[in-house]
Subunit: 395 residues, 2 copies
């Protein structure tokens, strides 16, 4: 088998993506979908089988005559995804159809620097390899929590990743694993994950807003990630909400993140706990020594009115920014994701209320705003999808 099997033309690439996205198909059904003569289709499928990318899988039920042969992606196809977060690493292995076969995760501070963190990630991949899940790796997608030069495959001046600036992540990992590698912003990967496996499957243009340590936005235009001219598109954390708001780490006042980023949420929760306004938050602070978004969610779920209030306020500010972006971008769907998606429907309700009130009516006429249903998987599925789009394209 060739080292790095890739489709040889657009037809083969199309067939691979079809099998990835729609699952195994009979040759006859494929013939109905793609615009190719039967002879041509047979030739291309045979070549894909020769390349080891596709294989036969028995016969389909009869449609009234001879039974058609089913083809599927080779079950030996493997994609790897690294999702590097601000405080965590997720590593997953998928098959050719982006089904997650193994997923490990650990706490890890991205500020330890590129070599340390990437070594940890490779160690985690080693664990999965030990489980016998991986043979040949056909491609790897990597997400990092900061702006990326997609073309160069490296972070550029990332604010929360000291030591990563212009570190050649793509080439280093490519060298290590001997497979194609692509690097992108983690929020973009989540958007791709939603596009592949989530609610965005049927939508061409949508936004994914991730609220976690930072606040970012994945932008999908016509089924593809839009990255902007320098790869920083979607960097909405420092959009101005108000001139006289809290001072942000970036130096300006009233940034969205200063209102509702991870640090802001912890700050507000601890203030509420210390001031005695919220006994529940005070108890949680007592227990854990510090508070985070998770604790606010717990308190809110337990009925603490101050916690609910904090979430409402945050939702309102996110909504104010999002309303502007919806008017501007006119998306077909907005997905709210990230740690705070667990804050649930109080948050969502507030965001919806502001957006539906403040955006252009034509833009909100048929605009669902939903919470992500993929939880932690969006990032790694997106990573696999990113690289599979690349591998499943004509060289």
């Amino acid at each position: 088998m060739r080292m790095s099997a890739r489709p040889q033309n657009v037809h083969q690439a199309r067939l691979l993506r079809l099998l990835r996205d729609e699952g195994p198909r009979s040759r006859a059904e494929l013939g109905d979908v793609v615009r190719l003569s039967r002879s041509k289709l047979a030739v291309e499928l045979d070549r894909l089988v020769e390349l080891g990318l596709v294989e036969g899988a028995g016969l389909a039920a009869s449609r009234g005559g001879r039974r058609s042969g089913i083809v599927r992606l080779s079950p030996r196809l493997r994609f790897v995804a690294f999702d590097i977060g601000a405080t965590s690493i997720d590593v997953a292995v998928t098959d050719g159809a982006m089904e997650v076969l193994g997923h490990v995760s650990e706490e890890c501070d991205v500020r330890q620097g590129a070599t340390v963190v990437l070594d940890r990630a490779l160690d985690l991949l080693g664990k999965l390899r030990d489980e016998g899940l991986i043979g040949q790796v056909h491609g790897t997608g990597i997400g990092v929590p900061g702006p990326v030069s997609f073309r160069d495959g490296m972070p550029v001046v990332p604010p929360i990743m000291p030591g990563w600036d212009r570190f050649p992540v793509r080439d280093a990992i490519g060298q290590e694993l001997g497979c194609p590698v692509l690097v992108d912003n983690d929020v973009n990967l989540m958007a791709l994950g939603e596009l592949h496996a989530g609610l965005a499957r049927a939508v061409d243009d949508f936004l994914l807003v991730k609220i976690g340590t930072g606040i970012g936005c994945g932008i999908v235009v016509d089924g593809a990630i839009y990255r902007g001219v320098s790869g920083s598109a979607g960097d909405i954390g420092h959009i101005r909400v108000d001139d006289d708001g809290p001072i942000c780490a970036c130096g300006n006042a009233g940034c969205l993140e200063a209102y509702f980023g991870g640090a802001a949420l912890a700050r507000d929760a601890e203030a509420a706990a210390r001031s005695g306004r919220s006994p529940q938050l005070a108890a949680l602070l007592e227990t854990h020594g510090q508070l985070s978004a998770v604790h606010v969610g717990e308190a809110a779920a337990a009925g603490d009115p101050v916690a609910v209030q904090i979430i409402r306020e945050g939702g309102r500010h996110v909504g104010q920014v999002l309303a502007g972006l919806v008017s501007f971008f006119n998306p077909g769907l907005v997905i709210i994701a990230g740690g705070v998606a667990g804050l649930g429907h109080a948050l969502l309700a507030e965001i919806r209320s502001v957006v539906y009130r403040r955006s252009a009516p034509l833009a909100t006429g048929n605009l669902p705003i939903v919470l992500s249903e993929l939880a932690g998987a969006a990032g790694v599925v997106g990573g696999a999808r990113l690289i599979s789009d690349h591998v499943f394209s004509a060289s």
Copy 2:
């Protein structure tokens, strides 16, 4: 000659666009640019000549051997553009290369309704026809000041165009002129105009902000207009600047348009005139009975500090919104256009100052913010470009 000559394949379409955008070329130079064998190129060019779309134009200078034949778009090609504004109609005729051969314009209130306004537009076209500028019309592009369903070729619930909702503009004009017609938002056409003839020629992703009666934004992604899922993308006039700002016509408070639309500017100017703070504006109000953006510009140019202050304030608010959009969209260029572009560099300086201060550094690192240089021509050039992109594409 056939009724409606169109290229027959992608190669012909490519050649036509090349001749449109780069001007006449020798056959040899075309051979260097396009990836076609000499024989193939000759065949396609011959077919284009047969179709009447292209013609020979003498011989080029020698490059050291036999002189090559120059080809150019047929000088008989004609595109028509209607730019319907809130208070004006512009009609222009261009040749195949988007050179404006004739341009007439008149005051006209769009609120008179679709049939009245379009009849006026056709009358204006009649004037140009009387000048002998027009033979066969190969296509028509129409811009209207409101949201458009591009697919259906009609306005949809346009706020400032009563009586136009779902009026089949494309089909009506197509019937009348017997040529392909496309309808789009007027701001989108201005963006296309800049893309063709303005500063945006070398940029793939950019924003055009038009400040006039309303405030809108044309979005270009990868060299093509982005319209959003319901055609209302770029509708930034009602993005929130502040919760406790002036009440807007839309019912919300603190919209951008309530700060710096045509009406807001007139309101502020008249207030300054009446309060006696600005003798110059008071004099202008005395003379004209009412004030508009133009008068503020005049007063500012004459050194009136209050007028300059009004422009500064407006620029600041535009900058605040634009800063958010720049962080989100990460464009390669921002163009400021519309009536107030005449307000000149005081406005631009203020916008720049706010954007460069408040946007993500990576997004502003190499971001020119400029005034449009096309003045009134952007809309009509964009209209011609819109339809020529359509006509110069493989059927």
